[in-house]
């Protein structure tokens, strides 16, 4: 079985314990607790690496179906329902464990330089360690409840990290927005889990997959609603249309956080959930409308690919370009899962993590060294190519991977998704895929041009002058930053060869696909096998990528390269283009829709209706009652009160006054004193109860 596979539950436990240690002792440590965080992530990485090694051995040495390795303990029990906690290790879990531990380690090393001297340095490392622990808890969850636990830990930590610099109002608002938008989706997760329990009578992920794949459920309709509820959670977490609005705002956090959030954790959570209980989504969301069979996951993914890529064109903030690019790539993953290319989508998670993490860290490196902590490409960057050579090299390699240039990692994963869309009868999504690739190349060319080419502007110009003073041609960031960049850059280059279809290398597929419980074989919902790779099938996409590069480069040179271009200010002169530009800059008015229309639309009528009820109905009743009461009162006053009661009342009044005077000091207005009295009274009451009962 293997020691590492059976003890995989240690992997999230170590960072979890490290979190507690950092909170308790971090401030007294010589490096403010960062050493505990890094050590715990390295330990987790070693364990994850061991687990991966033993898992590969297990798959290679087995001739039959490989079973997942489970180790579980009872967590709690309600009636007959026993919920366990532990680890469920299969191909998918192993991939994610290695990925999360690896990226977290690099990001933490990078952070030691990037947030050096920050006022909440220790808290930063505590949150980011707990964040990794949450993701690790989620990826090896044996049941839906542990998955929910990890999911929520991540939600909380993302709130803390995005709002790390909460003194600025925009940052704390971004943190709140991220938290609440994801929460909208989280309701779906709770409802979905409850429905899964109702349908399958179990919460174990392995069993759910098995039962769903075997078609062992009563009504497909119910399964569809469960899948819809769960998918809403995935949309929220993974920033899919229409809940993607929180992701770009989440850039308010420190750059290493964005990098971790956007590569291997948090946003991948939604895609991971779809991949984890894939049969539920594959069968549940299989729609049949107007004779056309399709999967809802693919539709949402496809829409996201295009709308997010379009938004990336109008951003001036380099991190926001990358953020929308992440949204778009997550769309690819969802699309891949939707069209039935499970392995390709999971492989895209794997390769995307390396190059997107690298791109974010490059952006951070530029801001940290080259542009005086500004992320504005138009104002403070430009011409950094020769001045920051390592960052530039890592950026170019990762950009090539993101665009899907042949023989770089992104090509192998993205091309397989697009290819599968074509062969699995999703022709429209094939077109969406290659147009998305075109747009990706175009906006990345724009970002690269603005950041690294042309004349230095603003902060970058200042940096160039500094270099001239020091008689240097280049100065890159310190090794804490460049070493992770180089490692990630190399992986962005080579990680794709684990599953390189053009060379018929399918190790990744071989190691992950078994033991998930995917519905291969015969039947209505059977998964198609991945298509054979052919260069002729990949050609249209590659041509469009080349076209995207060419057109974008030409436009960039014309727009940003010269002062007198005819193209300058085109959006101001041409009303149609101007309207389109405005539409994109305002992010399709989705934020306005959510805040002004939906929130107000719901909140205002409710308060209006409540006010109306209050004024007309309640007041009417109260007034009538009051009038009647008054008439009665007059009569009573005349005959009974004056004559009979007054004497008694006056007597009791005097008594009450004196009692009140005596008790007045007790009413001090101090809440703590009320509390003390309350508990004192309760204690006396308890004592009396004990005495009476004995």
């Amino acid at each position: 079985m293997g020691w590492f596979l059976e003890h995989a539950w240690l992997i999230p436990v170590i960072p979890g314990v490290a979190f507690a240690l950092i909170i308790l002792f971090g401030k007294r440590m010589p490096r403010g607790g960062s050493e505990i965080g890094i050590a715990s992530m390295i330990a987790a990485l070693v364990l994850a690496g061991g687990a991966a090694y033993q898992w590969i051995n297990r798959v290679d040495s087995s001739h039959e179906e490989v079973t997942p390795v489970l180790s579980r303990w009872e967590w709690f029990r309600i009636g007959d329902l026993r919920v366990s906690i532990g680890s469920h290790i299969d191909g998918l879990a192993v991939v994610m464990l290695v990925l999360v531990a690896f990226i977290s380690t690099l990001v933490q090393i990078y952070s030691t330089e990037y947030v050096r001297g920050d006022r909440r340095y220790t808290h930063y490392f505590a949150s980011i360690t707990l964040f990794s622990a949450g993701m690790l808890t989620m990826v090896l969850a044996p049941n839906m409840v542990q998955l929910l636990l990890g999911w929520e830990i991540m939600g909380l930590c993302s709130f803390m990290l995005i709002g790390h610099w909460w003194e600025e109002k925009a940052n704390s608002e971004a943190a709140l927005k991220a938290f609440w938008t994801v929460r909208v989706g989280d309701m779906g997760l709770l409802v979905g889990i409850a429905m899964l329990l109702a349908i399958f009578n179990t919460l174990e992920i392995g069993k759910i997959n098995e039962l769903a794949a075997a078609g062992d459920f009563e009504s497909k309709n119910l399964l569809m609603w469960a899948a819809v509820a769960l998918f809403i959670a995935c949309i929220g977490k993974s920033g899919q249309f229409p809940l993607h609005t929180w992701l770009p705002d989440a850039m308010a956090g420190p750059t290493p956080v964005s990098s971790l959030l956007h590569s291997s954790t948090m946003v991948v959570g939604g895609v991971f959930l779809v991949a984890r209980i894939y049969p539920v989504f594959h069968i549940g969301l299989d729609m049949n409308i107007a004779g056309q069979r399709f999967n809802l996951v693919a539709v949402i993914g496809g829409i996201t690919v295009l709308i997010a890529a379009a938004l990336a064109f109008v951003q001036n903030d380099i991190k926001k370009v990358l953020a929308y690019s992440t949204v778009s790539q997550l769309g690819y993953m969802m699309m891949g899962l939707g069209v039935g290319a499970w392995t390709a989508a999971v492989f895209h998670i794997f390769t995307h993590a390396f190059f997107k993490c690298c791109l974010f860290l490059c952006a951070g490196s530029v801001a940290h060294t080259g542009s005086h902590h500004s992320f504005d490409m138009k104002k403070d960057m430009g011409g950094l190519r020769k001045r920051m050579p390592i960052t530039f090299a890592a950026w170019i390699v990762s950009t090539a991977a993101l665009c899907g240039i042949p023989f770089v990692s992104g090509f192998f994963s993205k091309d397989e998704i697009i290819d599968s869309a074509k062969y699995n009868d999703y022709k429209i999504f094939y077109v969406v895929g290659i147009i998305g690739a075109f747009m990706t190349t175009a906006y990345m060319t724009r970002a690269t041009y603005l950041t690294f080419f042309g004349k230095p502007r603003g902060g970058a110009e200042h940096f160039a002058h500094e270099l001239e003073h020091e008689h240097k041609t280049s100065r890159d960031s310190s090794w804490h930053i460049t070493v992770p960049l180089v490692i990630l850059g190399v992986l962005a280059l080579v990680s794709g060869y684990l599953n390189a279809a053009p060379f018929k290398w399918h190790w990744f597929e071989h190691w992950t696909e078994s033991s998930i419980g995917l519905p291969f074989g015969e039947g209505t919902f059977a998964l198609p096998h991945p298509p054979e790779f052919s260069w002729s099938a990949a050609a249209p996409g590659l041509l469009l990528v080349a076209a995207g590069f060419g057109i974008s480069l030409w436009l960039c040179r014309a727009l940003f390269g010269s002062e007198t271009s005819r193209l300058r200010g085109l959006t101001q002169r041409n009303p149609l283009l101007g309207a389109g530009h405005k539409f994109l800059v305002n992010k399709y008015y989705l934020d306005a829709l959510y805040e002004k229309v939906i929130v107000r639309g719901i909140a205002y009528p409710i308060s209006k209706a409540a006010y109306w009820t209050n004024q007309h109905i309640l007041d009417g009743i109260v007034n009538t009652v009051g009038k009647t009461g008054r008439r009665t009162g007059d009569l009573v006053y005349k005959y009974i009160d004056q004559g009979l009661v007054d004497g008694a009342v006056n007597a009791s009044g005097t008594t009450a006054t004196s009692a009140g005077g005596a008790l007045q000091p007790v009413q001090s207005g101090k809440v703590s004193m009320y509390g003390a009295l309350l508990f004192g009274a309760a204690a006396v009451g308890g004592l009396v109860l004990v005495l009476v009962n004995t």
Partner: protein, 99 residues
């Protein structure tokens, strides 16, 4: 059955909570202390639930968790409003109830 240990844990948590409610000046910390008290009750409920082998205690505990969540929601909203109006959440400054 190790019932004693659970009850002791519950009692200790309860005492910490009561201490917090009485001593702390910060409204948020007082709310947190109230949570501690509620959870000490939960521990007792679950301990007795296990001892008697039923589900009633667990169900009660779930109810308490739900109610506590609502209570904290309302409580924090009140604290927020007080903070907006007065720029402080120190309980010592809120003594309008003085008779």
């Amino acid at each position: 059955m190790l019932i004693n240990q659970f009850l002791v844990l519950g009692a200790v948590l309860f005492c910490i909570g009561v201490y917090g409610v009485i001593v702390r000046k910060n409204a948020v910390l007082v709310l947190m202390s109230i949570e501690l008290i509620l959870n000490s009750v939960n521990i007792n409920l679950l301990a007795f639930d296990r001892l008697n082998g039923g589900n009633d205690g667990a169900v009660f505990a779930l109810y308490i968790i739900a109610v506590a969540a609502a209570e904290v929601g309302v409580g924090l909203a009140m604290v927020l409003l007080i903070f907006r109006n007065r720029k402080t959440i120190s309980l010592d400054d809120l003594s309008e109830m003085k008779g």
